[in-house]
């Protein structure tokens, strides 16, 4: 199957060779399909397991560095055994179930919330022929998985029989369904430009036109990045787990390995979102010709970690948003920007396809125009949204408004 058993460079072709050898040996089609699917699933499971362990360490060290302190460095050289210690701690904790809690739903919620996180890895193009399930509607499948995870969050919050868990769960669901729309619009812009919803097709589009899609859709990249940080419940949008505000949000009552599952799901979700951004906007396994020397999946994992570094950077530097600020950002900021992006992309594709202009002339123009318009729209929207406005409803006030002079200003009242 592989040239040598340790030579992991060409995994996609290796699996194809194995399938061909099995078919030549006369195995029925179902067996060949099952074995190739099994090989793909094993690869993904190994990757997810390894990254879930490595990312705990990466995140904590990096956040420590950004906060001008060393991260965990007690356990093992450079703190490398920290994730192992975390896992052992979570396993040996007592798993409590509140007495009045809904037993079945309480136990099912952490398990079910893992399902969409894992399923998202099935459509990612790891290499040129390395997609586990090359769906024709790959982008839409990813969005559908994002929207089902909202239900699982609610199950967790509701089953805890705890006011604060329920409140946290409701806030999180409101945030999740609000941020689905800007991410759909951002990905719609990408799909309109690339012409296909198949993730491997989008990567091949970038290969064919010899550039990354981020140069043509900078606004879509930004919108999707911000909407994904909100969907992942990461800082700066982590009101779900804001320890200072609502204790721990929808997973207050979870302890032990059930909480460990929630923690792992957040990491695996960040991985899958980073992988989607890397595949759609940063070219997936294609990098201006580097994939001749380095195997495609290594490049893909490298880009994945680059985007994950961005997400950690957001977490380490930005303070938390309030829930109303988050909602305002989604509905008043990212939604119109997403619509403007779709309009712009559709116009450009129309000009390109209908008048049959050659790509070499038209695409650089589109890139420049898109960047300029993205900058203009962002600045304009920030100006418009941060204007101060009168808060409605106006109630009758018994005490007249007094104006208190700020320290440093002369008293004018």
């Amino acid at each position: 199957m592989l040239a040598r058993w340790y030579d992991f460079r060409d995994l996609g072709n290796g699996v194809a060779r194995m399938a061909q050898a099995l078919r030549d040996a006369g195995a029925p089609d179902g067996v060949v399909y099952a074995l190739t699917a099994l090989a793909g699933c094993l690869g993904i499971l190994i990757f997810v397991g390894l990254t879930a362990i490595v990312n705990i360490w990466v995140e904590r060290r990096l956040i420590g560095r950004m906060q001008v302190r060393r991260g965990p460095n007690r356990l093992g050289p450079w703190g490398l055994l920290q994730p192992v210690a975390d896992a052992i701690k979570l396993i040996q904790k007592e798993v409590l179930t509140p007495r009045a809690a809904d037993g079945t739903v309480f136990a099912l919620a952490p398990i079910l919330i893992f399902v969409p996180a894992m399923l998202a890895f099935a459509v990612l193009p790891w290499g040129e022929k390395m997609v586990l399930a090359d769906l024709n509607v790959g982008v839409l499948y990813l969005l559908a998985l994002g929207s089902t995870s909202a239900i699982m969050v609610f199950m967790a919050g509701y089953a805890s029989n705890n006011k604060y868990a329920l409140l946290g769960a409701m806030r999180v669901i409101a945030m999740l369904i609000s941020y689905e729309i800007p991410s759909v619009l951002a990905l719609l812009g990408v799909v309109v430009f690339a012409g296909t919803m198949q993730l491997s097709g989008i990567v091949q589009f970038q290969d064919f036109y010899w550039s990354w899609l981020i140069f043509f859709q900078p606004l879509a990249f930004l919108i999707f990045l911000l909407a994904s940080t909100a969907e992942l419940n990461r800082s700066p949008a982590d009101i779900a787990e804001a320890e200072s505000e609502i204790v721990a949000g929808y997973h207050i009552e979870y302890s032990g390995m059930k909480f460990g599952l929630f923690y792992a799901v957040e990491l695996v979700n960040s991985m899958s979102v980073s992988a989607v951004i890397a595949a759609l906007f940063l070219g997936g396994w294609w990098t201006f010709g580097l994939e001749e020397f380095v195997p495609g999946w290594m490049i893909f994992i490298g880009k994945l970690y680059a985007v994950y570094f961005l997400l950690i950077w957001f977490r380490g530097t930005l303070p938390r948003f309030r829930i109303d600020q988050l909602m305002a950002l989604a509905w008043k900021g990212l939604l119109p920007l997403g619509l403007a992006n779709v309009l712009l992309s559709a116009l450009e594709v129309l000009i390109w396809q209908e008048y049959d202009v050659s790509a070499g002339i038209v695409l650089p123009i589109f890139a420049v125009v898109n960047f300029v318009l993205a900058g203009v729209l962002l600045v304009a929207f920030m100006r418009v949204m941060t204007r101060s406005f009168e808060r409605l409803p106006k109630r009758a006030r018994l005490v007249p408004d007094i104006s208190v002079p700020l320290p440093g200003e002369p008293a004018t009242a």
Binding site: V105, N136, I151, P393
Partner: protein, 141 residues
């Protein structure tokens, strides 16, 4: 099970399971776009709506056991199931011999914009009307 389970919230969760099952049925019929959109819209958005609606009912009214309509509902669904099974067993299914379908998403897009453009536009106007109605209903003034 949705009819007989005691807790209304469990009924909603089982309904979500049946939505996902229906998406599976769509996928066995090679309608990949419709299947994924079923999960996205039904299990993603409409299910959240139903959950919020159930949460807004008072706690005492969420007990499904005292519902007098349970027996007629069971009888009706049993009859429907029996009817569907009968039809499924009686039809002479032809094996899938027409080969693979062309991509359904592209065909649906073409159909929505060329022969069915008017229903498409009317559906979007309907959605705008619904949103404006919702905003009007919850305005505080």
């Amino acid at each position: 099970m949705i009819i007989v389970v005691r807790n209304l919230m469990h009924a909603v969760l089982l309904l979500i399971l049946s939505f996902v099952g229906m998406a599976g049925l769509f996928i066995t019929l090679s309608a990949d776009f419709v299947g994924v959109v079923q999960v996205l819209i039904y299990a993603g958005a409409i299910a959240v709506l139903m959950i919020f609606a159930v949460m807004l009912t008072p706690r005492a009214a969420r007990d499904n056991a005292g519902n007098a309509l349970q027996l007629p509902a069971l009888v009706l669904s049993g009859l429907l199931t029996a009817g569907v099974i009968f039809v499924v067993l009686q039809t002479e299914w032809r094996e899938a011999s027409r080969g693979s379908f062309d991509t359904t998403a592209a065909s649906i897009g073409d159909a929505l914009l060329t022969p069915f453009a008017l229903p498409f536009e009317i559906a979007s106007v309907l959605l705008v009307v619904a949103m404006i109605g919702a905003i009007l209903l919850v305005r505080e003034e």
